[in-house]
Every structure is written in structure tokens, then in C-alpha cells.
Symmetry: C2
Subunit: 219 residues, 2 copies
Amino acid sequence: MQKEFVVIGLGRFGGSIVRELIDQGADVMAIDIAAERVDEFATIATQAVVADTTDEAVLKSLGIRNFEHVIVAIGDNIQSSILTTLMLKEIGVKKITVKAQNDYHEKVLRKIGADQVVHPERDMGIRIANNILSNNVLDYLELSDEHSIMEIKVNEKIAQKTLIDLDIRARYGINIVAIKRGNSINVSPPADENLQLNDVLIIIGADVDINRFEKKVLS
Amino acid sequence: MQKEFVVIGLGRFGGSIVRELIDQGADVMAIDIAAERVDEFATIATQAVVADTTDEAVLKSLGIRNFEHVIVAIGDNIQSSILTTLMLKEIGVKKITVKAQNDYHEKVLRKIGADQVVHPERDMGIRIANNILSNNVLDYLELSDEHSIMEIKVNEKIAQKTLIDLDIRARYGINIVAIKRGNSINVSPPADENLQLNDVLIIIGADVDINRFEKKVLS
Ligand SMILES: Nc1ncnc2c1ncn2[C@@H]1O[C@H](COP(=O)(O)OP(=O)(O)OP(=O)(O)O)[C@@H](O)[C@H]1O
Ligand SMILES: Nc1ncnc2c1ncn2[C@@H]1O[C@H](COP(=O)(O)OP(=O)(O)OP(=O)(O)O)[C@@H](O)[C@H]1O
Ligand SMILES: [Ca+2]
Ligand SMILES: [Ca+2]
Ligand SMILES: [Ca+2]
Ligand SMILES: [Ca+2]
């Protein structure tokens, strides 16, 4: 069963969603009020349509309500974003994801029935800040407020040591779940193998413990 | 040793970086050409300054070169973003991260010496698309082009089963590295415990294998 989506608003954020959904094999109708933006997606999206989505009649004529999930990626024009969401709800779309510009915008979107509200710039700001704060933490997945999985780069200080030497679990209460070397991932890293410079340790644990390890061992 | 940063451009992306760096205990000088934006950060940032950062004399008078790392989060005005980066490089800033609007912008930024170039809207579009494609995959960390760690929600189909029942490792070649239940994370999940509805499995493995598991077992 092919998944079918509509993306409204083909800025950087909406455009990136279209490309990734198509890459992953989904069907996507891409809509923007600006013809130049739509042209760019003519050969990428399953369908690319110039339309003003604040117009209920237009949404109906496009058969939008038959799609599984509609993503509203209109940004700066908050009024159009809200009106579009309202119309989508009105014609009975089951699942609606909307990009919000701020907390007030989010509140309105939730009230009128948006199922998921996202803040791409804000969320990416948080990710980049965390990435910037540590030269060794390459990327991370926040599991809870206090636990994460982090990718930590092996530097000169711990290269040529083994996991036994470092004794990370006993000393820091954190676990190494995998080691990345170049393009290969080892999910059962041998305890007696020498770490190589630029290996990436995939570590799970409490943020305080991972930070303690990173500060003590790496910097 | 206190970490010291400058963030130029206080839109949603830049503003979010300022807040997160401050939250994490860093010192941040926040700069924007627009006084209203700067006012918003007067009580948040360590210092908040109205300035046009394309002006070399201004950057010098602010002592920018003494900071560890400068983040340029100017978006729509590509010319200002490029000029600012050029000036920062000229006065000898060691580390510069810049937000790019598109590939061409990135190319120029790299040529003039930006150390890190980021595409927040594009990257978040990819994350949201992946999140949207699967109702059960809550979040993920891409380890390589072909391997990921994914958070997968336990649904009715596998609730009350144990890890032994599911036999995930042997059948799918993937590992469960932790189970999240409410706010608690268990990094050594017992093989004989019943999974609960809405538990979150933290799974590591090849994308194809995780997807196979998700399709076969969950949907
Ligand atoms: N009523 C509408 N119907 C359809 N599309 C619309 C409507 N209003 C705005 N759009 C489109 O939404 C798209 C996204 O708008 P926005 O102003 O957020 O662009 P952007 O700043 O380039 O976004 P990003 O931050 O993702 O790069 C634009 O291409 C715009 O033409
Ligand atoms: N020469 C400059 N010096 C200092 N700040 C500048 C300069 N030019 C632009 N800025 C500021 O950069 C900020 C970010 O610009 P942008 O146009 O990307 O805003 P935005 O669309 O709100 O960003 P975001 O997508 O992060 O929400 C603005 O607040 C703008 O005033
Ligand atoms: Ca914008
Ligand atoms: Ca933006
Ligand atoms: Ca946290
Ligand atoms: Ca991938």
C-alpha cells in the first residue's frame, strides 16, 4: 500500500520534506501559491500544483481529503497557515502536520485541530547548540530529559586504548552500544580491541554521566 | 573554563541557539541589526548588541575575535551572511559556523573559510519526513547511510510479549539497546519481561532490517 501525502508550501523546509518522502518511495502532491516554486518540483513530486490553499473550493477540487496526511509548511504568512489548516480540518483531512513560527501560532493551530505542530528552526537551533558545545559529541538522540544516546569521537587521549582500559561502564555508568569506524558499524564491540583515532563511540546513558565521561576523558 | 560564543542573527534559528547555549551555562553575545530582536534577548543573553556585522570596524570594536566560536544565523539576506563571514575570517575568528539557504550559498561560504555550514530547514525536513513515514518510529539517530538507532513504539500487536517471544536479534539482526517506559530508561532490558503498550524500544541496526521489523511486526 503506497503512502500518499500532500505538502503545502515549498520553501526550504517543505521542499526538503517533499524530496525525502519521494526518496523513500511515497507519493506526494506538492502545492505552492508561487508558480516558480511549483516548477522546481514538477519533475520531483508525483504531482506539482499551483494553488492558494486558503480556498476551500480549490482544496476540494484537488481531492485533498483522500490523502492520508497533509503537511502545511507555510511559514512567514501565519494567517495563510492558520486558514489553510482550518480548511483542511473542515473538509475532513484525517492527519495534519503544521509548521509553527512561534508559541502563539502553535496554540492557535492546536485549537483548530492540527495533529502535530513542528518548529524546525527552533529544534535545529537546539541540536546545533549542543553540537557546538562539544567538539567531540557529533550527534545525539534525546531519550528523555535526562538520558541520551551520543556519538562521541575518539581523540588522541583514548586512541589505542581498549574498552577494558577505559572501564567506562563501571566508572561512569554508561554503555557503549556500538563503534563506528569509517562506514562500518560494530554493534558488539570487542572489549579488548584498540580504539582508533576518529572511531565514533555510540554511548547510551544519563546526560550527566556521559558529560562527565566526555569532560574527564576527552577534553 | 567558561565557553564563550557569539550568535549573529536572532531569528528563530539563531534565537534558539542563544537560548540553548545559555541554558547549558555558556556565555553568549547576541547580535542583530534589528533593535526589536535584540531587546528580546537583553535579559537572556550575556550581552545583547544592536550592530551591522558586515561592518569590520564594528566587529573589531566589539572584540569579536576573542570569542571561541561565532555562529552566523542570518538567513534571507545572503549577501549579509557572506559579507559577515568574510569579515569574521578577516579579523581572525578561529571557528565560524554559518547557516546556508541553499547549495550555492554553502559553496561560497566554504570558499571564504566557514568551518561548518548548516541547513536547518532542510535537515529538519528530512527528520520530519522520516517521522511522518512511520507512525511507530518516534525519533532516530542516523549512524551511517545504512545504519540507525530508532525509537519504536510498542503497539497492541507486541504488547504483553517478551523479547524472547519476539526473538528480534535472530530474526531481524537488530539489537534492542534500551527500553523507555514513561520517564525511566532501562539500558539492560530483561529478556523475559512483558512489553507494555507505549513502551519505546531503542533499536540499533541496519535501516533495512529495522524497517523489516517495523513493517512485519508493527503494522
Ligand atoms: N496561501 C498559500 N497557498 C499555498 N502556498 C502558500 C500560501 N502562502 C504561502 N505559501 C507558500 O509557502 C511557502 C513557504 O513560505 P515561507 O515564507 O515560510 O518560505 P521560506 O521562508 O522560504 O520557508 P523556509 O524557512 O522553510 O525556507 C512559500 O513558497 C509560499 O509561496
Ligand atoms: N547585517 C546584519 N547584521 C546583523 N544582523 C543581521 C544582518 N542582516 C540580517 N540580520 C538579522 O538576521 C536575522 C535572521 O534573518 P532571517 O531573515 O533569516 O530571519 P528569519 O527568517 O526570521 O530566520 P529563521 O528562519 O531562523 O526564523 C534577522 O533578525 C535579521 O535582522
Ligand atoms: Ca524565512
Ligand atoms: Ca526559516
Ligand atoms: Ca537533555
Ligand atoms: Ca538513511
